[in-house]
């Protein structure tokens, strides 16, 4: 490989971008950091609190509860959306009018804003005027997402699956389309079963796009706020109070700035480290092969 010359003045070219990022992201984030290490008794007088807020956050049962619910929610939707998305992609028409039709139809949920999705499901599930709620009620199913924890969870998980499975399916479809015909022909010649074609051809070829899909779905679902806020408002009780909802309650509802700042930094670090670990593991698995 060619030796590349090292030219340190090139760093100067990064400066304008760095200034922009500072202005839009790093400095605002620093105010959060600032709050997280200070306390106040009002009148805008702050004093140093050290890591007290962090110790409190890490020990807080309230935070543990929200984190547990969050992990369960993200785990559930990944466990449903990834296999379902792959299944849909495998069964989509590969070309022609119906292929285009499916692509467009499946993109539609992705285009709907979060709060609208929330509102759609909020109404859809209502027992008095919502199609789903009304139908279930008339079929004799005791369904009420505002009162029953399980019903609330089912509604939220279904809503997320409805909203985001398309993303996984579209990415998986793109991965499948990139497989040359010769692979399928060779598999036929080698008398591979349908399962083996999936296991040894399709799945390995979809690895890259699935990594992206899982990463995106993990990050997005771990930060979910608007939809559960609109549908259940975190209830019944605290049953669907995920991390974001809890955090907003703490910061803006209770105006507990120190705790909330420490909370958001911990929250941010969790997402960052999980994504990093996942990505690194996937990349290393790839390298091991070569």
């Amino acid at each position: 490989m060619m030796e590349k010359p090292v030219y340190h003045k090139a760093w100067l070219l990064v400066l304008p971008m760095l200034a922009l990022v500072c202005f839009s992201a790093i400095v605002p984030l620093m105010t959060v950091v600032n709050y997280s290490v200070q306390d106040t008794f009002g009148q805008n007088n702050f004093f140093w609190a050290g890591l007290a807020w962090f110790t409190e956050t890490l020990a807080s049962e309230r935070v543990h509860g929200a984190l547990g619910r969050q992990a369960l929610f993200t785990g559930l939707i990944l466990a449903i959306e990834v296999p379902l998305g792959i299944f849909v992609a495998l069964n989509m028409p590969k070309k022609g009018f119906w292929s285009t039709f499916c692509l467009v139809a499946m993109s539609l949920p992705l285009l709907i804003p979060w709060n609208v999705v929330g509102t759609i499901w909020q109404i859809f599930g209502r027992v008095d005027i919502g199609l789903l709620g009304w139908t279930l009620d008339h079929l004799g199913v005791d369904y009420n997402y505002t009162r029953d924890t399980l019903d609330a969870w089912i509604t939220l998980v279904l809503m997320d699956v409805w909203h985001w499975t398309s993303l996984v399916a579209l990415l998986a479809f793109a991965g499948l389309k990139s497989i040359p015909d010769a692979y399928y022909q060779a598999a036929k010649i080698d008398q591979a079963s349908r399962w083996k074609v999936f296991r040894y051809i399709e799945l390995p070829k979809m690895r890259g796009v699935l990594t992206i899909a899982i990463l995106l779905r993990f990050m997005d679902s771990f930060k979910i706020y608007t939809e559960p806020f609109v549908v259940t408002g975190g209830g019944p009780g605290n049953a669907t109070t995920f991390l974001s909802i809890d955090l907003v309650k703490m910061a803006l509802g209770q105006f507990n700035l120190g705790s909330a700042a420490a909370y958001s930094i911990v929250y941010f670090l969790i997402i960052l480290s999980v994504s990093w670990v996942f990505y690194t593991v996937m990349i290393n698995m790839d390298k091991k092969g070569t």
Partner: protein, 368 residues
């Protein structure tokens, strides 16, 4: 192992083909004898791959039947035909090791572990990858991957036929020669029916017992390399095989004489008086260029020294005619005359070869 019969076969990629131009493969009757090595030779787009995919069952023909021995397999799926096929570009199962790749077709058929082990090590040795068996296939170079594909094609000992679709396209030149030699020795050893698609005449002529030349969806000639060289059945075969290809000249033929723009040429055999577009075809190997005497008056345009001989490019009233001269020969400058060895002259009527009336002995002493 099987004899493969194609009966009345044709294929069109269009749902509703109208004329012959809509067919990628025109009507064809052909028998691939059991245990022979065939090369299917022709330019890109002549229908070679279509024919191959029909034999392996990846394509269902628009019409006609395919028989393995005497069993009709036209509607049978690829898997049940027990065929091996190697494609132009390497296909490996990325997540498997080289060993598992080679074992895959055997394991899918439920072969015993001891048999798998034995075959895999034999094939690995043949393709020169015994030391890479435990590596993952995804990190290998293109030619190693293609060797794995070849190996997978040959690992099953009981296949009806092995089909190769330009398998050496991505392989290094020196490795090409080596692999082709190994394929030949494998053929001698196990006697599989082999069909080898290529557009490279050297590959075809060195690999096969018999070469099938295709042109625009049609088989134009089938024969030994010798026959294709000496007695091309169609002008296309003349052009396509040999380097440079056959020379063609419009001529008026009567009996054993041809006349080309007033010059009489001795044909060495009686062809009667054919009607239509009549041409004579002579390979450069049977053309000599000399300063004086009788023959076609030509203008010498270029001399190409290709090492073992010289190629003389000459011009005869706008027709390019090529001749060969031995490496050390003196070549008269500018203009001279060409004379043809009657044993190397063929007569073509509307592109198809016309057999002489009294079978004159050919250059190798064989009747044409």
């Amino acid at each position: 192992m099987a004899k493969i019969t194609l009966s009345n076969l044709a294929h069109s990629y269009l749902p509703d083909p109208q004329g012959p131009e809509d067919y990628a493969l025109k009507e064809l009757d052909h028998v691939w004898e059991d245990g022979r090595a065939y090369a299917l030779l022709g330019p890109s787009g002549c229908g070679k791959t279509t024919l191959l995919n029909i034999i392996s069952g990846l394509l269902t023909p628009s019409q006609g039947r395919i028989l393995f021995n005497d069993e009709d397999v036209t509607d049978k799926a690829t898997a049940t035909r027990n065929i091996a096929q190697v494609f132009q570009f390497p296909v490996v199962y990325d997540t498997m090791s080289v060993r598992d790749n080679l074992a895959f077709p055997l394991r899918n058929r439920g072969a015993a572990a001891s048999h798998v082990r034995e075959r895999v090590s034999a094939i690995a040795k043949m393709i020169g990858m015994e030391h890479d068996l435990d590596r993952r296939a995804s990190g290998l170079t293109a030619d190693s991957k293609q060797k794995i594909s070849l190996g997978r094609g040959m690992v099953r000992g009981d296949v009806n036929a092995i089909l190769f679709d330009e398998p050496l396209t991505v392989i290094d030149p020196h490795m090409k020669w080596e692999l082709r030699t190994q394929l030949k020795s494998l053929h001698r050893e196990f006697g599989h029916t082999m069909i080898y698609v290529t557009h490279d005449q050297t590959e075809a002529l060195t690999f096969a017992d018999e070469v099938v030349v295709m042109h625009e969806g049609r088989v134009v000639q089938m024969g030994t390399p010798e026959e294709l060289f000496e007695r091309p059945a169609h002008t296309f075969v003349g052009y396509f095989i040999g380097s440079p290809g056959m020379n063609f000249l419009d001529a008026h033929v009567k009996g054993a004489k041809a006349s080309v723009d007033g010059t009489e040429i001795d044909l060495g055999a009686d062809y009667g008086e054919p009607a239509g577009r009549v041409r004579i075809g002579v390979r450069p190997e049977f053309v000599t260029y000399h300063a004086g005497g009788s023959g076609l008056p030509v203008h010498l345009r270029r001399v190409e020294d290709v090492g073992r001989h010289k190629v003389l490019r000459t011009d005869f009233f706008g027709n390019e005619l090529n001749a060969l001269a031995p490496e050390g020969a003196e070549v008269p400058a500018d203009s001279g005359r060409l004379s043809f060895d009657p044993r190397g002259i063929n007569v073509y009527v509307d592109d198809w070869r016309l057999a002489p009336r009294d079978a004159a002995p050919g250059p190798s002493g064989r009747a044409a």
